[in-house]
Every structure is written in structure tokens, then in C-alpha cells.
């Protein structure tokens, strides 16, 4: 199909050259054009003279000048005589030139010349207008397309709570956790509270915090359990929260209870893994992740710790409204013997949390405790 279009266009281009070469025509010589022009000009001088545009004394001279040119053009026309017929071979040569040049240049550039020039065109690539792509059947639609489609819809109807909930799930699936959390928050606002929705919101918050159960997330899970104390996911995350906070015993308690209640649930294996991790840890009150890290060889351990700290620092640089996070970061730097960084982090924390007087007080306490100076 597309090649038919190309052929038609090429045909038009060829015809517009070949046709005038083939059809006889009357030539319009320069002398003829000049004669008409100078006649016009003579008339114009008369007009200008009557309008006072040219000094009366000059009219005669100007007329004489133009008349002289008119005469010359007239003579030239006489000299030219009848137009001579051009030789046929020249037209043939011109036609051949066009016949070769047009297809050769067009195809050479578009399709390319083997082993010399890669063609510019991609004749087999169809158009891809966004609308059509978004309306394609769901079966062969990838997640990003589905998201784009929903986003477009939500831009028009931001009050569509169901839409918000669906898009939140999709966001989470492709790892856009921040946006997922925001969408769940909107869905909660629009559709009202259900334990399931609150729980999903909490899970998105955890994902957004790179697996850390933040205070907000913990609040979400606690709300969920107040409405429905049996929900395993919320309980699991609260267990994780306890583990991350260093409360190993509480974590083990929650995880064991979960496994005991539903030993054959699909998620039971994951919980068992957590339990195993906690069990393998040293008996000191180290948190789960910390314990895992402690089990590593020293070089790997340092790298792992540094990686976690860097991740935390990066997150805080993006969003500094997390007092817990800052406290943890400052502490970590001190543990790693990087007092300078700790001081810098403390400064950044003060700037980010300037409006939160409670957090500022805690930062001051920490600074005193770690001997970083209370500046």
C-alpha cells in the first residue's frame, strides 16, 4: 500500500518534468516583455507628470530616455526574428536526466544504497497516534499504555475514585510507588475508608520508602487492624516495623502468630523466612536487617551498611520531612566514624525540619548525646 503511494508521488514528479518537455509551446522572449514594460513606463511618466511627481522640465528628458529603451527593445525583437526550433536531442537528454535522477535520488536516500548509505526511511513502520494506541484492546496492551490511558481519563475526571484505586495498583506494579501512594490517598478520600484500601495505602508507603515501614505506614496498618484485626498483611508489616525498630521479640511474636494461624497460606513462606532471619541473628537486640548484615564478612558488611545509609540520605534529600529518618541518618554517620557528614546531615535536617519545633528539639537532643555540638 505505502509503495503504491510512493509510486504515485514519484509518477507525479516525473510527469511534471516530462510533460512540458514533450508538449510544444510558444516562447515568451525577453524583448517582447521589455517592449510591453517600456510602453507601460511611458504611460506612467505621463501620469507622474500630471500628478506633479516629476519636474516639468525633466518630463521630456525622462520620456526620451524611456523611449530610447523602448526603441532598443523593439529592434532587438526584430533581430530575434522567429524563434528557432531547439534540437530534439536536448529534450531527450533532459528527459533522461529526470528519469534517472528522480527515482535514483529519492530511492537512494529513502531506501539506501547497499554497503554505502543507510536509507533514511522506515517504510514498514506504521503510524502510532497515541489515541489509537490507547484504544487498542486490553489483551495486547502493556502496563505503561494502560497507565497512560487511565492518566488521561483521570486528568479529565479527577474525582473518579475507582480509577484512582486501579491506577494505584498499576503504579505499584511498575515501581512508581510515590505516585501509587498518592493515588491510594486520593481513593481513600473519594471512596471512603475500608481496611483493604488502608492496608494497600500502607503497603505503597512502605514501597515508596524503599522497604522501610515509616511512621505514616505504621499508622495506616494500625488503622487497618483497628477495623479488622485479622488482616495478615497489615500484621506482617507491623512485625517488620518492630523488626526495623530493633524490637526483635515483638517481631518474632507477630511473625510466629501469623504462621501458626495460617501455616499453608501462600505468604507463609515469606514470614517463615523473616523468622529464620531473626532466629539466626545474634541474641543481642539487633534489628533483623542489622543482624543479617552483621552475619556478612567485614568488607561486605561495610558496603552493605554504606549502601543503606546512602539510600536513606538520597531519600531525605528528595523529601526531608521525615524526622525519624534524619535521626537515623545522623546516628549512622556517627557510627561509621564520619563526624563531618553527621554534622552536615544535622544542618540539612535543621533546614528541612525548620517548621517542626518538636523534631528540632529531638535533633538538638541527639546532637548533645552524640557530642556533635548544639549549634
Amino acid at each position: 500500500m505505502i509503495w503504491v503511494v510512493f509510486a504515485l508521488m514519484t509518477g507525479v514528479a516525473l510527469i511534471c518534468v516530462l510533460w512540458p518537455l514533450a508538449s510544444p509551446r510558444v516562447s515568451h522572449s525577453r524583448a517582447t516583455a521589455d517592449v510591453t514594460f517600456y510602453r507601460e513606463q511611458l504611460a506612467e511618466i505621463d501620469r507622474d507628470a500630471s500628478g506633479g511627481l516629476i519636474a516639468p522640465a525633466e518630463v521630456a528628458v525622462a520620456r526620451a530616455e524611456t523611449a530610447r529603451r523602448l526603441l532598443r527593445a523593439g529592434e532587438e525583437r526584430e533581430r530575434e526574428g522567429p524563434a528557432h526550433t531547439p534540437p530534439k536531442w536536448r529534450q531527450g537528454a533532459a528527459a533522461a536526466f529526470a528519469l534517472v535522477t528522480i527515482p535514483a535520488v529519492a530511492l537512494g536516500l529513502y531506501v539506501g544504497v547497499p554497503s554505502w548509505f543507510v536509507g533514511l526511511g522506515s517504510p514498514d513502520l506504521p503510524d502510532a497516534p497515541l489515541e489509537a494506541r490507547l484504544n487498542a484492546s486490553l489483551a495486547d496492551m502493556d502496563v505503561s499504555v494502560a497507565i497512560a490511558r487511565l492518566e488521561a481519563r483521570l486528568a479529565k475526571h479527577p474525582d473518579d475514585g475507582m480509577g484512582q484505586e486501579v491506577i494505584a495498583k498499576l503504579y505499584l506494579a511498575v515501581g512508581r510507588a510515590d505516585e501509587a501512594a498518592a493515588a491510594y490517598a486520593k481513593a481513600l478520600e473519594l471512596l471512603g475508608e475500608t481496611p483493604q484500601r488502608r492496608e494497600d495505602y500502607g503497603e505503597a508507603l512502605v514501597a515508596a520508602a524503599n522497604g522501610v515501614v515509616t511512621a505514616d505506614a505504621r499508622a495506616a496498618f494500625e488503622t487497618t487492624l483497628r477495623a479488622d484485626p485479622s488482616r495478615p498483611k497489615a500484621r506482617y508489616y507491623l512485625g517488620l516495623a518492630a523488626e526495623q525498630a530493633g524490637d526483635r521479640n515483638h517481631a518474632v511474636e507477630i511473625f510466629s502468630k501469623l504462621v501458626a494461624e495460617a501455616p499453608n497460606a501462600p505468604w507463609a513462606a515469606a514470614v517463615r523466612a523473616r523468622l529464620a532471619a531473626l532466629g539466626a541473628a545474634s541474641p543481642s537486640p539487633g534489628a533483623g536487617a542489622a543482624a543479617e548484615i552483621a552475619a556478612l564478612p567485614p568488607a561486605d558488611r561495610d558496603a552493605a551498611i554504606r549502601g543503606m545509609v546512602d539510600q536513606l540520605a538520597a531519600r531525605l534529600a528528595r523529601d526531608g520531612h521525615d524526622a525519624e529518618g534524619w535521626l537515623k541518618l545522623v546516628r549512622s554517620y556517627v557510627v561509621m566514624n564520619e563526624t563531618d557528614k553527621a554534622r552536615a546531615a544535622l544542618l540539612d535536617a535543621r533546614r528541612s525540619l525548620a517548621e517542626d519545633s518538636a523534631a528540632l528539639a529531638r535533633l538538638d537532643d541527639l546532637a548533645r548525646e552524640l557530642g556533635l555540638g548544639g549549634s
Binding site: 511534471c16 518537455l21 516583455a33 517600456y38 511627481l53 525633466e58 533532459a94 536526466f97 502510532a128 497515541l130
Partner: protein
């Protein structure tokens, strides 16, 4: 399929343009009418093909086809339709396509309307156009192809800079390009005349309408661009002597000179060699302008070297066309026969002076724009040349030009009487002097430039009106006679007068900027400030959500002697998607002046920095430009300028004619 059809159409247009550059040229050299006759249909089909390519690209932008790199990088599905369309030429690749589209359009117009033209001239001119088109399409295809594809297609585009999402910017580039590229016709005709070795008054008649058309669009384009800068950039300036602006001013100055010298050539068969030179100059400067803006050389001389293909291609094109045409000029120019003679004091003499001054002015801008680039390339020293440089160089030249301007149209052709003209203009001069003195006495301490500027403006406006009046009004003639004389006056004379009045009006607006009032204040809601003749109250400062931005806005009330005359709402918008903010100046036109308010940053204590301006008569700057363009259009509509005129005259010749 649409996209690839457009792509192929562009490639095909290149192939056909090559044929158009060769076959008609060969025909003209050998006097073969058959070969020459290829030029016209080829020009039309090239235009058709480029139009298909342009439409395909526009279609891709409108339907957000992100399988095109160009669409992906410069569009976004959520953009309003009008900015999707303007986004086509809001980027390098698309704007080059627009450039070629307009080039092909002008070629097609020459083919359509140039019927009475001598075959040789048309064939050579269209061949030159074909060569131009082929070169530029090749440049587009090899270095900036807007049809490059992306697999797999991304789902969302990268948006357009919010500051570029503006109706002013949507129409500014097309206007400017119509101007730039319009001069290509004059260039092609100049090359044709040089190749032919023959040039006469008739040549000027063929070229003049095209020059005039280009000049009208360029005038409007520059005015539009300056108004855009004025209201978007938020600090009330309308001309910065920025290289980008200078790039459009230079072709305008050369084009204005060309317009005037072509008149001399048409009327008096004089200044032929000079006119050819100006035609080459105007288009060369247009090329330079396009590339100064497009090549990135303004951003960095070294950017030129960092993208060698594009940079070297651009340099090659400039050398080819500017160098080539000037070489041709040096070789063939001296052979052209000199034309009519005239006295120094005559219309011709005045127009020569006009030309000299305009080219000199152009030279000053040229040096100011390119000297820093040259210096940096040679010595690595970085300098900038600011307004003071132009005030010292461009300023005096322009002043002399403006003062001499009213004399031109009043002088007769061939030999004029300076005394008579001076007598006629004495009224205008006296009025101008009186007004200037009045201003000086009223405002003792103001800068001298303002009364001087106003005086010159009044002189130009009154001088032009007096000239027209002198032609129309005859002592003792009845009103109906006067009316019929006014109607009978060629429109080009009205056009000249209008364009000159427009220039005077612009100068008046420029002079009045001196009396502007500017306040930078820290304001909070409820504060009132005196601003020239007005009092401005910042009634409220608040914020709200827009479609894709958040804005802080102020409600300002403008009072005059206690009476509310206007409400203004300046705002500052923040686009979170690009982390960019834009200033939306609040502008209200009161009389011919404007109150202009723009918001700055909020301070910690809740106050806000605010800039307030009172700009008396500022609108005259752009009104004047529009009057100039209107004058151009009036001239263009003159019977004598109509392009098919010679052909009609040919038919008329066969009828019995009155004896001359």
C-alpha cells in the same frame, strides 16, 4: 503510513528540486524554451510535495505520534491543540521544514504569477530557487530529520517549555520566516540577472512585489517578537540588542534599503549594480539570521564544533550561497550596463542617501553581533556588546536617516529643488521644533533624547502628511475635485506616506519610553503606590491551581484621581512537571500607554517584591510597525505592482491603441 508518506515526499522534493536546478538553467543557457518550460510545473509540484511533508509532520504532532523522535521530544499529549500545532515549528527540525515550506511556497507563487516574465529570467530564477530548496532539504534530511523514528514508541512526550507555550510564539516564527525566505526570491532573481548578464528596469518591476511582501512580513514578525519579549519576560523591555533579535533586524535594514533602491531602478533604470548587491545582501543576512539562531553558535562557539556534521553543513551552506553569489557578482557585476543619470539633489539622490545610511546602520548591527563571536573564536576572550554600543553607533546613523527621511518623497525625480522642498517642509520642521522646545520647557531635567526623538517623530509624520496634502489639495479646488485627486493618487504614494508615518509613530513610542516610571517595591496586600498619573493598590495576594501549574497572583487596582480605571492580575506560575516558573505580567492599556505589573519572589515575612511600570505611549511602538506594514500592503495593492500586469498589457496591445 502518513508519516512515511510525508518523509518520502520530502526526499522526492529534493530529487525534483535537483532536476529543477539543472534543466531550466540549461534551457536558459541554450535558449531552449522546451527545457525552460519545465521550471513552472516543477516549482508547483515541489511545493505540493513539501506541503505533504509539512502536513504529515503536523499530523504526527496533532495525534501525538511519539514514534517520531521530533514529536516525542517536543510535544506532550496533554498540550492544548494550538500548541501541538505551533510545536511543529517550535524546534530546530520542524522550523527548518517550515523554512523550506515557505521557500517552496514562494517558488510556486513565482511560477503562478510570473506569466508575463521573460522566459530566461524565470527559468534562471526558478533554477536558483530549486538549488536553494535542494540544498536545504538535503541539510534537513542528513542533519536534522524530523521524520526520524523511535522504536518502540514512548507513551508520553517530553513537553514543550512552558515559556514557549504562548500564542505570540505560535505566530512569530512563521511571520519571521515569511520575511526571511521572501528575500530568497530577490536573491534568485539577482542570481538569474547575473547569470544572464542582463538587467534593466523591468527586472526591478518583477522583483519589487516580492521584496515588498517579504518586508511586510518581516516588519510584522519583528514587531510581534518584540511584543512577545515585552509581555513574557516580565521586566518591560521590548528590545535587548540580543543577537537573536539583531539577526532579524539586519535583513530588515538591508531589505528596506533594497525596497528603496529597487524603486529607483524601476523608475529610472539607475543603481542597478547596487540593487543586485542589496538583493544578495538581504538574503545572505536572512540566511545568517536563520543560522545564528538555529545552529547553537550563540549558545556557544564551541557547540558548533561539538556537533560537527550540523555545524560544518551550515558553514558550507553559508559559504556556498553567500560566497558563491558574491563571486558571481564580482565577476558579472561590472558587465552590467550603467543606467540613467540624475543630479545629486533629486529623488534618486535622496534614495541613495537612504541606502547608504541603512547599509551603514546594518553594518553597525553586524559588527556588534558578530564581533564578540569572532573575538571569542580567535582569542578566546569573551566579551559582550550591549545597548551603549548601539546607542553610540546605530543611534546617530538612524537619527540622520530619520531627519533626512521627509525630504525624500518630496523631491522630484532626476533633479529636485531642495529649496522648494525645504519651504514645504518648513511648517513640519517648525511644528517639530516647537513641540520639542515645549517639552524641554515643561520637563527641564529630562534627558535630551526624549524631546529630540519626539521632534524627529513629529517632523516625519507631519512631513509625510504635508507631502500627501501637497499632491491632493490645490488652492481653490472644490472638495469633490480634492477627493477625486486623492483617489487618483497612485496607491504606492499613499503606501509610502503610510509607512513613513508608521515609522514616525514608532519613533514617538520609543522616545516616550524615557518618561516611563519604574518602581521596584516590597509590597503586601493593602499597599498603595503612586505610579506616574495613577495609583496602584495591591488589593490581595493569593494562590490557586491552574491546569498544569500553580500560581501566585496579586489583584491590583489602578486608580486615577480616586476613580478605579482598571483591575490587573499579575501572576507567577510554577510548572511542577518542569520545575520551571514563568512570570505572567499584568498589563493594562490605558490610552496609548500601559500599566505593567510583574511579581517577583515572596519574602520570608509575607511581603512580595513587585515591579510596577507606567509606560506612556508604549503601544505606539507596535502600532507604528503595523502602520508600516499596512503602508507596505497599500503599495503592494497598487495597480502597477500587480504581478500579472505585463501579460495584461500584452493582450491589450493587440487592441487598437490611442496614438501616443
Amino acid at each position: 503510513m502518513v508519516v512515511e508518506a510525508g518523509h518520502f515526499a520530502l526526499v522526492l522534493a529534493l530529487a525534483l528540486a535537483l532536476v529543477q536546478a539543472v534543466v531550466p538553467f540549461w534551457g536558459a543557457q541554450t535558449g531552449d524554451g522546451q527545457l525552460m518550460s519545465v521550471a513552472r510545473p516543477a516549482a508547483l509540484v515541489i511545493f505540493g510535495l513539501v506541503a505533504v511533508a509539512f502536513a504529515a509532520l503536523m499530523y504526527a504532532h496533532v495525534v501525538s505520534d511519539f514514534s517520531l523522535v521530533n514529536v516525542f521530544e517536543n510535544s506532550h499529549s496533554a498540550k492544548p491543540l494550538v500548541y501541538k500545532i505551533s510545536g511543529v515549528w517550535g524546534n530546530h527540525e520542524g522550523s527548518m521544514i517550515l523554512w523550506v515550506f515557505i521557500l517552496a511556497l514562494f517558488g510556486a507563487l513565482v511560477a503562478l504569477f510570473g506569466r508575463g516574465m521573460p522566459d530566461q529570467l524565470r527559468a534562471n530564477a526558478l533554477a536558483a530557487q530549486g538549488f536553494l530548496a535542494a540544498t536545504f532539504i538535503l541539510f534537513i534530511l542528513l542533519t536534522s530529520n524530523p521524520f526520524a523514528r523511535l522504536v518502540p514508541a514512548p507513551i508520553e512526550g517530553r513537553d514543550l517549555n512552558p515559556i514557549l507555550q504562548d500564542p505570540g510564539l505560535a505566530i512569530h516564527p512563521p511571520l519571521l520566516y515569511l520575511g526571511y525566505v521572501g528575500f530568497s526570491i530577490a536573491f534568485s532573481f539577482a542570481v538569474a540577472a547575473l547569470v544572464d548578464g542582463r538587467i534593466d528596469a523591468a527586472w526591478a518591476r518583477w522583483v519589487r512585489p516580492w521584496v515588498l511582501t517579504a518586508w511586510i512580513f518581516l516588519t510584522l514578525g519583528i514587531a510581534m517578537g518584540s511584543y512577545w519579549a515585552y509581555y513574557t519576560l516580565g521586566w518591560g523591555g521590548f528590545w535587548f540588542w540580543d543577537p537573536v533579535e539583531n539577526a532579524s533586524l539586519m535583513p530588515w535594514l538591508a531589505g528596506t534599503a533594497l525596497l528603496h533602491s529597487a524603486t529607483v531602478m524601476e523608475k529610472r533604470d539607475a543603481l542597478k549594480v547596487w540593487t543586485i548587491f542589496l538583493a544578495i545582501l538581504a538574503f545572505s543576512l536572512s540566511l545568517l539570521g536563520t543560522f545564528l539562531v538555529r545552529s547553537g553558535v550563540l549558545t556557544s562557539v564551541h557547540a558548533f564544533a561539538s556537533d560537527p556534521t550540523r555545524g560544518i553543513f551550515i558553514l558550507a551552506i553559508l559559504v556556498l550561497f553567500i560566497g558563491g553569489s558574491l563571486t558571481l557578482y564580482a565577476w558579472r557585476g561590472p558587465r552590467l550596463k550603467p543606467g540613467g543619470i540624475f543630479a545629486p539633489v533629486s529623488r534618486e539622490g535622496a534614495l541613495v542617501l537612504n541606502n547608504l545610511l541603512l547599509t551603514t546602520a546594518c553594518l553597525t548591527v553586524f559588527v556588534g553581533t558578530l564581533y564578540p563571536l569572532a573575538l571569542e573564536a580567535l582569542t578566546k576572550d569573551k566579551i559582550s556588546v550591549g545597548p551603549p554600543f548601539y546607542a553610540l553607533t546605530f543611534g546617530p546613523v538612524a537619527l540622520v536617516l530619520l531627519c533626512a527621511l521627509p525630504f525624500g518623497p518630496s523631491l522630484a525625480w532626476k533633479r529636485g529643488e531642495l529649496l522648494g522642498v525645504a519651504q514645504r517642509l518648513s511648517v513640519a520642521a517648525a511644528a517639530a521644533l516647537a513641540i520639542a522646545l515645549l517639552i524641554v520647557s515643561l520637563r527641564r531635567h529630562g534627558p535630551i533624547l526624549a524631546p529630540l526623538g519626539v521632534g524627529v517623530a513629529v517632523f516625519i509624520i507631519l512631513g509625510s502628511l504635508i507631502d500627501i496634502g501637497g499632491r491632493v489639495v490645490k488652492r481653490g479646488a472644490s472638495l469633490s475635485v480634492t477627493w477625486s485627486r486623492a483617489i487618483g493618487l497612485p496607491r504606492s504614494i499613499w503606501g509610502t506616506a503610510a509607512a513613513h508615518v508608521g515609522l514616525g509613530v514608532t519613533v514617538l513610542g520609543l522616545a516616550a519610553t524615557v518618561w516611563g516610571v519604574e518602581l521596584i517595591v516590597t509590597a503586601r496586600a493593602g499597599n498603595t503606590f503612586d505610579l506616574g498619573p495613577y495609583q496602584v493598590t495591591i488589593a490581595d495576594v493569593a494562590s490557586r491551581e491552574g491546569p498544569n501549574y500553580r500560581e501566585t497572583y496579586a489583584e491590583a487596582i489602578v486608580r486615577s484621581g480616586g476613580v478605579i480605571v482598571a483591575h490587573v492580575e499579575p501572576a507567577k506560575r510554577f510548572f511542577s512537571s518542569r520545575q520551571t516558573s514563568t512570570t505572567q505580567a499584568g498589563i493594562v492599556t490605558l490610552g496609548l500607554g500601559q500599566v505593567y505589573i510583574s511579581l517577583g519572589d515572596a519574602n520570608a515575612d509575607g511581603t512580595m517584591a513587585v515591579r510596577l511600570y507606567w509606560k506612556p505611549l508604549v503601544t505606539l511602538i507596535w502600532i507604528g510597525a503595523m502602520i508600516m506594514a499596512f503602508g507596505g500592503a497599500l503599495s503592494l495593492s497598487d495597480r502597477r505592482m500587480r504581478i500579472g500586469v505585463a501579460r495584461r498589457a500584452v493582450t491589450a496591445r493587440q487592441l487598437p491603441q490611442p496614438a501616443e
